[in-house]
Symmetry: C2
Subunit: 551 residues, 2 copies
């Protein structure tokens, strides 16, 4: 295929530019009026009580692509982390295109589609490692790389206007223990061929040096577990299969039986085995069996490293787990990083464990974890291999992407561009530049309902959490007079403020009945009187709503 005169290659990030998570990048090729699209990754973010109360999952608003659904050729997943595949089963019904991924990733996507009742409808294709794919004007090579999950891939996306290397999440690990090492030959060859743009992970662009190898964690954890006497529980991300293997082998080395605790642990180990990994994973015992063993003969591998409310370790710490209990002399190792924003939840969990007399060991004071993302020396190595004309930092907050762009410039990359979700970046022809701004935003999974962030629902609830709510119902007769005492509901407001609000509203009503006036005006006057009284008595203005009933 050859480029026609009007062809352009564009990148449209709808997630992941400005946040770590919710990765969603669309590449478009063709003349502006007839572009064909592929989507790389389709992930979620998790809601937070402070910023998005009541929201479990956040995903990108993809209405721009929804309108061009016929031209969306495929979703290609780089690897199986939730922030890369977690939105597929929510958003697939909008795009209805085929999905491509390597076997382990495909296995986990399949599980999600099955739970969502979509398995029969989605054409999910398993691509072998080092596989190739042709999708319209795009030819894609899967390039093996290392990360904290099996089968991470960079994608070399070839188009008539040049090659884009989309790294996905990666690090350099000479001994990843599970899976292949980074295919530096392939990357170097791409560099020799000429890379138009490197679209690259920015997570650790503020971290000096290198991320370190899983093999060093294995040695350290093996030593550490050897020093522990009572029961040991280790919590890690279930998707970090190499770490699970590390922990299991470290346990085995010290004569401890391994019990998996938590649904995700079982699910991932099953998917890994089904796709050929963990062939020599030590045999596991079930929770009941483990409970019968002497303390120094058992190791629990648990979910809950982020202090998640319903995870195994949280229930163990609360003394609410059916089969696992820990106490004085026992230890818990947090073999994971703290995802920013989870500090208080994780430390609350540490405190609960400390309250049981359990000793807590974590990356804060022991070497029990390495990151899955490239620190600055690794980024520099990637730029040396690929030598792109354009650097496009993604997968980061603005502070990470800015630092990444500065690093790329310092490495003499001719152009480094920081972009925002919804900004369409033309990569070729010509100098990279933003050529369009499409609607971009977030969609919340709020309970069972998908709601646009713009609708302001969780923002409205944040207002309630700050100053509570007053609901007042007025009863009017046919002549517009107040015919009964109003009804008040006040929630989240201190008791002494209630009387002040009632008095103010009743005074307003008396004046209204003396003078009469229209309903709308009465409602607004009552609303203001109530809010004003609350503010005087309390210093805060509750959300206040006034309804009218006619009798």
């Amino acid at each position: 295929m050859v480029a026609s005169r009007d062809d352009e290659l564009v990148l449209l990030p709808l997630g992941g530019a400005g946040e770590i998570g919710m990765n969603f990048n669309a590449y478009g090729y063709g003349p502006p009026e007839a572009r064909q699209w592929i989507v790389v990754d389709c992930g979620v973010l998790f809601g937070r009580e402070a910023s998005t109360p009541g929201v479990d999952v956040i995903m990108p608003d993809i209405s721009y692509l929804a309108e061009r659904r016929e031209d969306v050729l495929a979703i290609v997943a780089t690897h199986a982390h939730e922030d890369h595949i977690g939105a597929i089963h929510y958003l697939w019904p909008v795009l209805r295109c085929p999905v491509y991924a390597t076997p382990f990733t495909a296995k986990l996507i399949e599980g999600k589609l099955e739970e969502a009742g979509l398995k029969e409808r989605v054409r999910l294709h398993s691509v072998p490692l080092h596989g190739k794919l042709k999708l319209g004007p795009f030819e894609i090579d899967f390039v093996s790389i290392t990360h904290s999950i099996p089968e991470p891939n960079a994608l070399a996306i070839r188009t008539p206007l040049g090659v884009v290397v989309h790294t996905g999440d990666w690090k350099l690990d000479p001994e990843p223990l599970i899976g292949e090492i980074t295919d530096s030959n392939a990357l170097q060859k791409l560099g020799d061929e000429g890379v138009l743009a490197l679209v690259c992970d920015s997570t650790n662009a503020l971290v000096a040096g290198e991320s370190g190898s899983e093999a060093t964690v294995r040695r350290a954890l093996t030593d550490l577990i050897g020093t522990l006497k009572g029961r040991v529980a280790v919590t890690a991300f279930a998707s970090n299969v190499a770490r699970l293997d590390t922990v299991a082998k470290a346990a085995h080395a010290h004569g401890r039986e391994i019990a998996l605790v938590g649904r995700a642990m079982h699910k991932v180990v099953e998917a890994a085995r089904a796709t050929g990994y963990l062939a020599d994973f030590p045999r596991t015992v079930d929770e009941e069996e483990a409970a019968e063993l002497p303390p120094h003969r058992v190791l629990y591998l648990c979910t809950g490293s982020q202090g998640e409310t319903r995870a195994a370790l949280t229930r163990i710490a609360a003394g609410e787990h059916q089969n696992v209990s820990l106490g004085p002399g026992d230890s818990v190792i947090f073999s994971s990083r703290i995802i920013p924003g989870n500090e208080l939840a994780i430390h609350a969990l540490h405190n609960k464990l400390a309250g049981l007399g359990v000793e807590v060991l974590s990356a804060e004071d022991h070497f029990v974890h390495v990151s899955g993302h490239p620190a600055r020396d690794e980024l520099a190595q990637m730029y040396r291999w690929t030598r792109p004309r354009i650097a496009v930092p993604v997968h980061g907050e603005l502070r990470h992407m800015s630092a990444h762009a500065r690093l790329a410039r310092s490495l003499q990359v001719p152009q480094a561009v920081t972009i925002e979700n919804g900004h369409m970046l033309r990569l070729a022809p010509g100098r990279a530049q933003v050529v369009d701004e499409t609607p971009a935003g977030r969609v919340h999974l709020d309970g069972l309902v998908l709601v646009s962030e713009g609708a302001g629902l969780s923002r409205a609830r944040r207002s309630l959490s700050f100053a509570g709510m007053i609901a007042i119902t007025l009863v009017l007769d046919g002549k517009g007079r107040v015919a009964a005492d109003p009804a008040f509901v006040m929630e989240g407001i201190p008791e002494p403020v209630h009387a002040a609000v009632r008095d103010a509203v009743e005074g307003t009503i008396r004046r209204h009945n003396a003078k009469r006036g229209d309903e709308e005006k009465l409602r607004e006057t009552v609303r203001r009187a109530a809010r004003g009284a609350a503010e005087d008595a309390w210093g805060k203005k509750p959300v206040t709503r006034v309804e009218v009933v006619w009798v």
Copy 2:
């Protein structure tokens, strides 16, 4: 004074045992039925949107002492941080006792009392450094120590049953730059004399090594600022006067004029000067003057290191500051730690600055800060000096206090006790043990109103933030029939759920009118119908309240 047969010495922590902040420790002496009390520190915690929405300030519930107000001899403040003095002006009216502090601390307490309209009523006594105090059975020596604020003091509390060393917040710094070095002679002499109990800061009990000296920060910041070209803003805790001095001198060394930005900066510099510190602080320029200077000739010293909503740096980053604006080529240095829980707010601020093209330098990637609390080697040194019979870790979460107690035991302290707020620990005679559990809890400053945490107000608002609110008003006639359409207020609930709730309620009302029944039953039936309909349609159960109006 000699101990009588029934005398006991007890420690009653009401804040700071289980959290870093809200320090409040009462020491009682005498027979159980007639103890006299002194209070060491009286601080606050700050509310958080996720856990205590709408709450600005949290302080201890001191109702136990309030009932014994006549026997509370004094509040003694160790130093001027908010978590040690911030509740004095709220709680003094409950205790109405004299307050003692060294001059700088007293100056800042005085400012708070003045703002609260209490200055004339409170007997606030300034104690000289190394001063002594006699309060009933207690004789107190102020022992100079180092920390991140001027005039930190440990207190040696002498009683007929032994000496307690209460460290307050401290570290070891051979070159604190402002104020005295730790009076190791005094501590060692106390150790020689025999220390009953060491009640000691646990903040950094999980941190290996030493905290490091302010002098090394001064050298590093001076070097770093020398490498920067455009405008420079540095944010630090205003109370860290040595750091303000460090930044000002580093600026001066590179020919930059210093402008203080933010109310707290001016207040602290003023208090420091009034009490004899900062005599050679470089002259400052005001914000307007600074705006006229060439970029490389100015340095702003700003409040806002924790991403606080109304602080100077937050307004600068939002482009909303009257006199200060930053842009490409400019730099901001965060010369402070991240207080746990503030990560997201601080990183949001970094992102805003990055969005302006400003380079952000912080303790995450540069050496620009040392902690004010003792790491493990410093704790060990303190134990070597004082050699207490009992170690009582305070000023920490359970995880810190547990680690601290383990460390103390490893240093052969005969007894190390972790305590909880409200637990009364008898220190003498005999082995230390909890002898009483008093009511302990928290009081929230919610708007202008003090509310007991136990009243559940902010918890009720958290429920609102999760699933919103439904308020329904039913109108009944004299015969108990529904006489008009009900009024609905639904807030924070997705639109499609509203109709489901209305339909369910209207169906319930029709059945009621057919059969009649009592009001209470109707309310409950309607409430359940509404919540059930919301749960079916949305998967969440809003807070639901039903009121009745009679016509």
